[in-house]
């Protein structure tokens, strides 16, 4: 890609499309079926498998697809988990039966196309996931990365909110856990990282540099409010003193896809999310999906958005219309970005770079036609040369010169700071999280050469702390969605950690209890509890927005 606008190249600027794929670690072997495991199954069917399908098709047609995807360690662990894979296979089998029944029942009605499409898609999902991917989505994504078609980046540990951690060791450990987990699943260390919730505090980049990370992503004002003031604002990546590059979100790109008013997903022809045969069909037909659990959506949807009408006034979804509209929107998005980079290039006298990050699950899960939109976007982009699609890694390789600044503390939450994850509703969590961090450091320092049983207990304590630190729990409390589940997860992991802490400190490990917790919280088998040791900390205070004083 050209560094600057010139008269030879028609390329006016570049764009990196980043999809952030994350779900908290939800695995409940203690129940035959668990409501929150649906999060993974739905995302697999509607987002992750369709993305692989898209990448395979683009590969077959020789279309460049420089997509950057962050895949969080908890999501990696779930995607690789044998129990969850088996449960997903069973869910798909049950859904296919239900979808085929629905297709038969809808024959000759205005819903026939939608029902046939749903049945076909589920059958194709099973074939792709089970037979072509060997039930291993990570391997499929890794293959596309190895071929240079996409870039996979990691996400800090368990999506822990790094600036609100109290200890240097805990922040460092989240980064190290992320890198080790990435290496386990993709066979090499990562070069890029998605900071959970784009939460940044000054100095965090030093921890990233130590881990071999070369770039990360930020909210817009993280760069625009940097010091000194960046000449190109968020329209170019910046370098930190540690040599790690930061790319900031372009709000104009986001708005066109995210916005309820201006965004594409609300188009009347698109599939309606909230109308689902899980609610519409006779209970006896959908009951096998729920396995005794509460009635809920199953992901088979036959209606379109229609307009601002009540749910019972929604009209039938017509697949061909919706997919044509997705292609139109992709062309519109491309034309808008071409116009945007041309306008900015004229203003700057230099080629801008746009970062367009989205939650991956927006595409396919929330916006059903979203993956079709992405595929059409890549195909259309390949036919023009005003806008170069790139990845951060490619961009830095092509144009390594950047302004050196100190970014500003920020996140991509409402208000741009930390208030979504720290407010009157969830502040109680931090007393326990911070103490658990300190206790983990104490344990790691006190057990430099643990016995095999102590090591098991230390590893499990580390897992419990990591799982408690997921930013999802504080977020759910703020958004008042599944609050009891978020509270329960926080309390369970802290309590399990606290028990292990006491047992390790008092040299009386209950091996049976340990085995039971190990069977429940299985993530991160590779975790190294010594990652929390004080002597591993090289940058005191780096990335902190918490300042602690202990009394004697």
């Amino acid at each position: 890609m050209s560094d600057r606008t010139d008269t030879v190249s028609p390329c006016k600027g570049s764009l990196s499309l980043v999809l952030h794929a994350h779900l908290p670690f939800v695995r409940h072997p203690e129940h035959p079926s668990f409501l929150e495991e649906d999060w993974l199954f739905e995302a697999l069917t509607e987002t992750y498998v369709p993305l692989v399908r898209m990448l395979n098709r683009l590969e077959a047609d020789g279309v460049d697809s420089p997509l950057t995807m962050s895949v969080s360690p908890p999501l990696c662990e779930m995607l690789a988990d044998p129990l969850l894979r088996q449960r997903y296979a069973e869910r798909l089998d049950a859904l296919i039966i239900l979808a085929e029944q629905e297709a038969d029942a809808r024959r000759g009605t205005p819903y026939q196309d939608a029902a046939d499409y749903a049945a076909w898609l589920l059958r194709d999902t099973l074939t792709l996931w089970q037979e072509r991917c060997g039930r291993d989505i990570l391997r499929a994504l890794g293959r596309h990365q190895e071929a240079g078609r996409i870039a996979l980046v990691t996400v800090a540990g368990t999506h822990g909110y790094l600036p609100l951690m109290a200890t240097d060791a805990a922040r460092r450990a989240q980064v190290e856990v992320a890198c080790a987990n990435y290496a386990k699943h993709f066979g090499r260390r990562p070069t890029g990282i998605w900071l959970p919730e784009c939460a940044y505090a000054p100095g965090l980049e030093r921890l990233l540099a130590d881990a071999g990370i070369t770039y990360f992503f930020m909210e817009t004002h993280g760069i625009n409010y940097a010091s000194p003031r960046p000449r190109f604002g968020h329209y170019r990546p910046v370098l930190t003193e540690s040599g790690v590059a930061a790319f900031a979100r372009d709000p104009e790109c986001s708005r066109q896809v995210w916005s309820a008013e201006e965004g594409y997903p609300g188009d009347p022809l698109y599939r309606e999310f909230y109308r689902d045969i899980g609610w519409d069909a006779a209970e006896s037909r959908v009951a096998p999906i729920f396995m005794g659990g509460p009635r809920r959506g199953v992901g088979i949807k036959l209606h379109r958005v229609t307009g601002k009408v009540a749910l019972d006034e929604k009209e039938p979804w017509v697949p061909t219309w919706a997919l044509e509209r997705a292609a139109e929107h992709a062309k519109h998005f491309l034309a808008s970005r071409q116009a945007q980079v041309s306008r900015i290039a004229d203003h700057l006298g230099a080629a801008p770079h746009l970062l367009a990050p989205f939650d991956a699950e927006l595409f396919g899960h929330w916006w059903f036609e979203g993956t079709a939109f992405l595929e059409a976007f890549f195909r259309a982009a390949a036919e023009q040369d005003t806008l170069a699609l790139t990845t951060p890694q490619r961009y830095l390789a092509d144009d390594p010169t950047a302004q050196v600044v100190s970014p500003c503390a920020s996140s991509w939450g409402d208000g741009g700071s930390y208030e979504v994850w720290l407010n009157g509703g969830n502040a109680w969590m931090y007393q326990h999280l911070h103490r658990a961090e300190e206790h983990m450091v104490e344990l790691a320092d006190a057990h430099p050469n643990p016995s095999p049983l102590e090591r098991r207990a230390l590893c499990q304590a580390a897992r419990e702390l990591l799982l408690a630190q997921a930013s999802d729990w504080a977020f759910i409390v703020t958004m008042a969605t599944v609050v009891p589940y978020a509270v329960r997860r926080t309390r369970d992991h802290i309590a399990r950690f606290d028990r292990l802490y006491r047992e390790l400190r008092e040299h009386r490990i209950d091996e049976a209890a340990l085995a039971e917790v190990e069977s429940l919280d299985t993530a991160f088998q590779e975790v190294d509890p010594l990652a929390w040791r004080t002597d591993r900390v090289r940058h005191p205070g780096a990335g902190a927005a918490v300042w602690s004083v202990a009394t004697s």
């Binding site: 739905e42 989205f358 503390a409 930390y418 309390r491 399990r496 004083v549």
Partner: protein, 180 residues
């Protein structure tokens, strides 16, 4: 020993006719050793939280001070309180003093220096441009041509639309409503 006994699960409540919500295992009521923590919430707010003995304490005074000792915020709180949310200026470095109202009035604790983020673009426009060498260190290079982004969308502090706010709210609710 049952699973719930071994893991210290919260007891199942008596059948009261109300739906049972599993709030999880009980948490410690307190921890050994005192702590005062200051946390940045947003550019104009910090949260102070403390775990200290309350014996003989009639109340707390929480005072945020700027770098030159000037008072930024002060709150008088009852003895049962253990946290405070203080309004402070953006882009501030300061520290927090926690005093117990016991009659003696002595300072119990001072926090480590905290800082709040800037709320707008920096005035400093001095530029340094660099590349990362093979050793991972920065090598200063000459500045590329090009003009300031001032005046473009999102530059200059007028657009702080985050993931969850303003125009992005549809995407936010889309992403996380899945968890309902």
């Amino acid at each position: 020993m049952s699973s719930s006994e071994r893991l210290g699960a919260a007891p199942t409540p008596p059948n009261s006719g109300e739906a049972f919500i599993d709030w999880g295992l009980p948490l410690p009521e307190g921890y050994e050793g005192g702590r005062v923590r200051v946390m940045t919430v947003e550019p104009r707010m910090v949260r102070a939280a403390w775990e200290l003995p309350r014996d003989g304490v009639h109340g707390w005074q929480v005072r945020a001070e700027g770098a030159r000792g000037e008072e930024l915020a002060r709150l008088e709180l009852g003895p049962e309180v253990s946290e405070a949310w203080l309004r402070v200026p953006a882009g501030t470095r300061g520290l927090l003093r926690l005093q117990a109202a016991t009659g003696a009035g002595s300072t119990l604790l001072a926090s480590l220096p905290f800082e709040t983020p800037a709320e707008g673009p920096a005035g400093d426009r001095e530029e340094r441009w660099a590349r990362v060498g093979a050793d991972g260190k920065l090598t200063t290079v000459s500045a590329p041509p090009g003009r300031s982004a001032d005046g473009l969308p999102g530059i200059g502090g007028t657009d702080r639309t985050g993931r969850l706010g303003g125009a992005s709210s549809a995407g936010h609710s889309a992403t996380h409503a899945r968890r309902t």
